[in-house]
Amino acid sequence: MTNAELELLYDKYSGSVYRLAFSYFKNTADAEDMVQEVYMKLISADMSFSDESAEKAWLMTVTANKCRDTLRSLAYRCFCRSVALEDADLIYETPEESAVHQAVMELPPKYRIVIHLYYYEGYSTAETGKILDISETSVQTRLFRGRNLLKKSLGEDVCL
């Protein structure tokens, strides 16, 4: 992989990688660390991809795996930087944005991540399942339960 190719891949997908990592960690520092780890893996794996969808899917899968591993690690759990969500440089332009975003971020991780991948990134349930290494049925179940929790949290239906 040349420097130019890396730069292209970074500018194309770092935002998605960062946002997925942010949905796991809920803070900017850990999300940026994860971006660096994922791209380090890309460099060392020296991958070549058949098309753009394969490129992005690989990066998202690696991100999800590494985020999950990190959250499970004893070191992270003992020494994690618990930055409050409001300190994470988030910008809310309306009260609705604040309410919905915070409600999603307060979901348990397994619901929050599928909602992010399905609704924000636009992946199908099958594609989401492949990224998270779970069955499509599990994705559907988690989307269903996540939506119900959002409805309960916001006190009304969320238009999806």
Binding site: M1, N3, L6, E7, Y10, S14, G15, Y18, R19, F22, S23, T28, E32, D33, V35, Q36, E37, Y39, M40, I43, S44, K66, D69, T70, R72, S73, L74, A75, Y76, R77, C78, L90, I91, Y92, E93, T94, E96, E97, S98, A99, V100, H101, V104, K110, I115, H116, Y119, Y120, I134, S135, E136, T137, S138, T141, L154, E156, D157, V158, C159, L160
Partner: protein
């Protein structure tokens, strides 16, 4: 409310320019190991996990069986009669930690029987506790839709044989083995079998373990309900392998914390799986060497432990209290996630005005400084 509100906020999130420079510089400088691994505890190999009579190289990869158990245990488990069991009944142990710290066989030990295939993929061993990670599937499919298959193996450690649930007098406690149906699958199971030793009998050196599975436990033995019969096991499954304890998993405290009113707690060892401890409620009871365990019917005082991160450290049901050399009982609790532990004592025989066990005393201990925080 609209999910687009979530999208709008998320669209505004992006990594910093500094992050971009770091990544692009990685390639330019050919640096491959800039960031420290976040994996925390490295999987430390105390000794190669070998098959008896042979050798196999240890593989430091994440374990399938325990990871799959952790996913399964996130949901409720539905037995064949429709009874739902809450995950808390089974998730006393932290399978995240077990997955991180167990040892994998590079050549998993498999058994292909007439009615079931079982593989022992991995083993966790800290000396006190041995947990085998297993996967399996029923050879003729799973038309009955079983989600939970318990079993009771016979274990032989070197020359000692254990075949019952309770061997407390022998210094060993064996829990039932369990296989759970993977979420979203029809016939893919992952599970574990564990046994726990007391201090006198804990594994200190590599040991040969023979694992023999003769039968599944009929459902009628479980929780008093009658279910459809479990599949019978036509073949006997017996394998032998050598396991070494990973001493690095044990944090040795071995300290008695006593406050000014004579309440005390002794913390012995802490592993990723459990904390071995004893708790005494007063100077008189210390003299009587009488430990109190929550929910024990003949106890009058029990203690609730909470760590500095707010996690309640429950007594682990599958790790029944074990006798120490002095004849007293020590309990296994969930391990703390911080060095600060708060212990609240309650009197079950003298409830408060709300009918709840009366709060009688509190102490806080610091494991790092081995001190009572008054």
């Amino acid at each position: 409310m609209n999910i687009n509100d979530y999208k709008k906020v998320t669209d505004r999130l992006s990594p910093s320019a500094e992050c971009r420079n770091e990544v692009l510089n990685m390639k330019k400088k050919q640096k491959k190991n800039i960031k420290l691994s976040r994996k925390g505890i490295a999987v430390i190999i105390a000794a190669a996990v070998t098959a008896c009579g042979g050798t196999a190289v240890y593989a430091a990869e994440k374990l399938g069986a325990f990871d799959r158990m952790n996913k399964t245990l996130e949901e409720t488990i539905v037995l064949s009669d429709g009874t739902e069991l809450e995950k808390d009944k089974f998730a006393e142990l932290d399978y995240n930690q077990i997955a991180q710290t167990a040892q994998t066989f590079t050549k998993p030990i498999s058994f292909e029987g007439e009615d079931i295939s079982i593989t022992i993929e991995s083993v966790y061993c800290d000396g006190y506790t041995v947990i085998l990670g297993l996967t399996g599937s029923l050879k003729n499919g799973n038309p009955e839709g079983y989600e939970y298959i318990p079993f009771r193996p016979v274990i032989k450690l070197n020359d000692k044989v254990y075949s019952d649930d309770f061997n407390i007098s022998k210094g060993v406690l064996m829990a039932k083995g369990k296989l759970y149906l993977d979420e979203g699958t029809e016939n893919s199971f992952a599970g574990q079998f564990q046994f726990t030793f007391d201090e006198k009998n804990k594994i200190a050196e590599p040991v040969d373990i023979t694992f023999t599975l003769k039968e599944f436990i009929p459902n009628s033995e479980i929780y008093g309900s009658v279910y459809k019969d479990m599949p019978t096991l036509k073949d006997e499954f017996s394998v032998c392998f050598n396991v070494a304890p990973d001493e690095s998993l044990t944090r040795r405290i071995n300290h008695t914390f006593t406050d000014s009113e004579g309440y005390s707690v002794t913390i012995f060892d802490i592993t990723p799986v459990a904390m071995l401890e004893q708790c005494f409620s007063s100077a008189e009871e210390i003299a009587e060497r009488n430990p109190y365990i929550k929910n024990q019917s003949d106890s009058k005082v029990f203690a609730v432990y909470t760590d500095g991160n707010g996690k309640e450290l429950e007594v682990i049901g599958m790790h029944h209290p074990l006798y120490r050399e002095d004849g007293t009982l020590a309990s296994f609790r969930q391990p703390p996630t911080s060095d600060i532990i708060n212990i609240k004592y309650y009197d079950a025989y003298h409830p408060d005005e709300n009918g709840e066990p009366a709060f009688i005393h509190e102490m806080t201990i610091d494991l790092e400084n081995l001190a009572v925080i008054e």
